[in-house]
Structure formats: structure tokens, C-alpha cells
Point group: C2
Chain length 263, copies 2
């Protein structure tokens, strides 16, 4: 959607290193927004984005006008069930429908061999992987690790909406996720206990409002009650009128064989 | 879906005449059936189908096993709104969702330049055309006229389920649609009056139960109240436990300029 930052830069770099030619699409997609304000408010610094792509060695930048992507009211939508039901899917109804639909459209137009998505949007990545499997799309999906500021805040186009005070408290989101990660690394398996560790960090900052904090299975993005396999701890919070999301992948510690069964 | 007949033969012939290579997919698609009996009951004469394709000069026959098309429970579906809402969409909930989804899957696997669909399933054709537009699919869609028995019955894989008595009354469906067509050709513009002409023909045969009889705009498949442009008169009827559908396209007579406004 443009407003490119080093997180996108990392996607481009990985594509550049692995590919003969690299295309970037920049399109602020109206059908994935549920609040029209957010769509209007979404940053569109096109000149800076084009310069960014040129510096990174991008071959093609695809910037379709709205009326080219939606020449008539969109009647066809791609719905991904299961993986899209919770977390973002719950709090942004219709969001993943809009994402899956526009990503399929872009795949058909650009016809990439491989497409790169950031792990910061872990559920989006899972939705797209599932769509690709279920619809036999020939594109290969590559997930790219989240790029963070030195204080841990995940890079996001929405960060530019934060004022100085909001920016100062925003890293607490990642601190909370790290607390969950450490809890799991220390052997905690009860999802409620892990979430409590993260919530305690968030609760200490009254200006940060939690929308959800969830622990989900890595591929299927279904909430789990106990942590027995790699999971994704994900959260959405509001800071002022800016919504931030982030997630970390957590691996339970390796234990002696069968110890989970014995305990 | 196989059980190939001369209607399919016409699709193949048109593809053969226009193309360097012709592929036929044969797959009885479970997700487009709403009654499991119908799915189990659908004919699968594979050897005869393969011979039919060989005689017609087909280059590739794609007959995927069920577990290749659906290796895991399908979570992703293509939903086409508007054009799929009435007629078949109303009486077979989920049917077009299943059709659109499998057709998109087949398009991704086979990657045809052009795909041929029969006009007998006029609404299905409209759904697929809309899906192709909305999702920027690169395939070109070709509609092929319905092939009929000498007595007017549209060829269908389901006709083989008719016993002799049912087969004898089945052509009445087309006779009813012809009555509607003649009514429109004679200048009738009120949809209710046109439908009455068709319903009168159907009502004379008590062993034929009407599921719907509708007049819809040609491209959008929305019911119309008055016939001012080309329309599709479509019906579904039951004969015994076999469901038959058919449709005719109707053109209102050309009238002196502005006469519609003056009248």
C-alpha cells in the first residue's frame, strides 16, 4: 500500500537477491478498510516511494489508479475461512476479504513467480498462504521477518501518525510480546498465564488500549489454550487514534522425550 | 463434469477450430452440490468420456482425483454477488460459490488462454464472466449455444436419469420458454405477461413441477419487470426426481425510434 519504509525495503532486498526482476505494487486498497476515514487518512507519499524503489533496484513499480483496479463495483470476493476468523478478522470485519481479493487480483495482473510479505502481518501472511494452497495459485509465498526500530517498535506506515508522546509509549507493545515469549521460553504452557505476562506489561501504560492479545497456532491462526508447538503471540493496541499491531513467534523449550505426556 | 454429450462436443469443436491445443477437464465437483445424493448420483462414464475426447481431437484430458483438487478441507471460496443472487443462486444455495471456486482452481492449474462454457447454463456463464472481470483473470470466456434434441430438449448429463415417460414430457420446458420468446417477439414488454405465457404451457403438464421461471437482464441476471433490452428467460423444473434447467435469450422487436417513450 505504499508509504514504504525499511520493512518494505527488506522485502525488496530479499526479492532482489533471489530474482531476475522485481516488481512492487503500490495501491491503497479501499475494500480492505472498514472505516472510510482510515482509507482517506492512509499516507500516499508516491514520489518518495518511487525514489525508494529506484534506490533499491526495483524494475517495475505498479501504481494502478482506483478506477483501473475497480472499474465497476466489485461483486466478486475471495473469502478465506478458518485462518481469517480470529484476531484481525474478528476486529476488522471484511478486512481479510478485501486483502485476499486484491492480492489475488494483483497476482493475476503482475503474475509473479514469488511474492514477499512481511511477518509483521502474520495473520495476513497465513491467509495468503492458505488462499494460494486452496486456489492452486502458482505463486510461491515468502515471509520476511519484521524490521524494528532500535527500541523494538515494528516499522509500520501507521507509525507516522504517532505524536512524540505516543511514539514514546508505542514500544511497550513489543515489550509485552517479548514478555510472553520469555514466559513460553521459561516453560509456561498455559496460554492464559502467558497472556497474563504480556497483559501485565500493557496494563502498566494506561494510554495504551488493548484490542486483542492472542496466542494462535502458527499456520492455522486458531487460538490455543496450551502451548505445545510453535505459536504466534499477536496483539492489536490503540495509541491515541492510531492502531498498532505486532506479533512474535514463540517456540516452546525442547523437553526430554514424552515429558509433556508424563507431566 | 464429464458424462459428455453433443453439447460438450460443440464446446470442444469450437475450441478445436480456434486453438493450437485443447484441454478438457472432467471433475465432478463436490462443493457445488448441495444435496450429497446428487453428487453421488452424478454419472461418471470415464471410459466413454475419454473415447469421446479422443474422437474430437482433444489434446489433454485433465481428470484429477478428488484428493488432488481438495487435499485439505477447502477454506477459501470465491463469492460472486449480484449476478449469482437469483434463480439458480436462490434455489441452490452455495452452488455458484462452489462453481466459481472450482473454475478458478481449474483456470490456475490448466492456464487456458480461452475457456468455453455452454449457454444452457446461462447464469453460470454470467457468473464466470463476472468473476473473470472482477478478479482480472487473463482467460477469455467463450459462450457456446445450447445443443438440443430434435424435440427441443436441451442436452444435459442429467437427461439420462429420465425414464421413458419423463423423457416424453421433458421437452415441454423448452416449449414454455419458446412461448415466452414468441410473446416478447410479438411486442409484449410486461415481464408478468411474458411469464404467464410460459407458465400456461407448463401448467398443462401436472407431472412437471416448476421451481422458478424468471426473466433476467442478459449480463447482470437481475429479474426485470419490463422487457426493454435483450433478456434471458430461464426456468428450472422437476420431472420426477430429475431437475432440468433451460433458458432462451430474447430480443424485443425493433420499434420506430422513441416509440417506447411515446407509448
Amino acid at each position: 500500500m505504499g508509504a514504504l519504509h525499511e520493512g518494505h525495503g527488506r522485502l525488496i532486498d530479499e526479492a532482489r537477491a533471489a530474482s531476475a526482476s522485481v516488481a512492487v505494487s503500490i495501491f491503497v486498497n479501499p475494500i480492505q478498510f472498514n472505516q472510510s476515514e482510515d482509507f482517506a487518512r492512509y499516507p500516499r507519499p508516491l514520489e518518495a516511494d518511487l525514489a525508494f524503489c529506484a534506490e533499491r533496484g526495483v524494475d517495475v513499480v505498479f501504481v494502478p489508479p482506483l478506477e483501473q483496479m475497480y472499474p465497476q463495483p466489485q461483486a466478486t470476493f475471495v473469502e478465506v475461512g478458518g485462518v481469517a476468523d480470529h484476531m484481525e478478522g474478528q476486529f476488522r470485519p471484511g478486512h481479510f476479504r478485501g486483502v485476499a481479493t486484491v492480492v489475488l487480483k494483483l497476482f493475476q495482473i503482475v503474475q509473479p513467480d514469488r511474492a514477499y510479505f512481511g511477518e509483521k502481518d502474520a495473520q495476513q501472511l497465513a491467509v495468503i498462504r492458505r488462499m494460494v494452497q486452496d486456489l492452486n495459485l502458482t505463486v510461491e509465498i515468502a515471509g520476511v521477518p519484521t524490521v524494528r526500530e532500535p527500541d523494538g517498535l515494528a516499522l509500520s506506515s501507521r507509525n507516522r501518525h504517532l505524536n512524540a508522546e505516543e511514539r514514546a509509549i508505542a514500544p511497550r507493545l513489543y515489550q509485552a510480546l517479548r514478555a510472553a515469549q520469555q514466559s513460553i521460553a521459561a516453560g509456561e504452557t498455559a496460554a492464559e498465564a502467558v497472556k497474563r505476562a504480556a497483559r501485565d506489561v500493557l496494563a502498566a501504560e494506561p494510554r495504551m488500549r488493548v484490542e486483542y492479545l492472542e496466542i494462535a497456532g502458527d499456520a492455522e491462526m486458531q487460538p490455543v489454550e496450551s502451548v505445545a508447538a510453535p505459536v504466534c503471540v499477536a496483539a492489536a493496541v490503540w495509541v491515541g487514534r492510531t492502531r498498532l499491531i505486532d506479533n512474535v513467534r514463540c517456540q516452546p523449550p525442547v523437553r526430554p522425550e514424552n515429558s509433556a505426556v508424563q507431566s
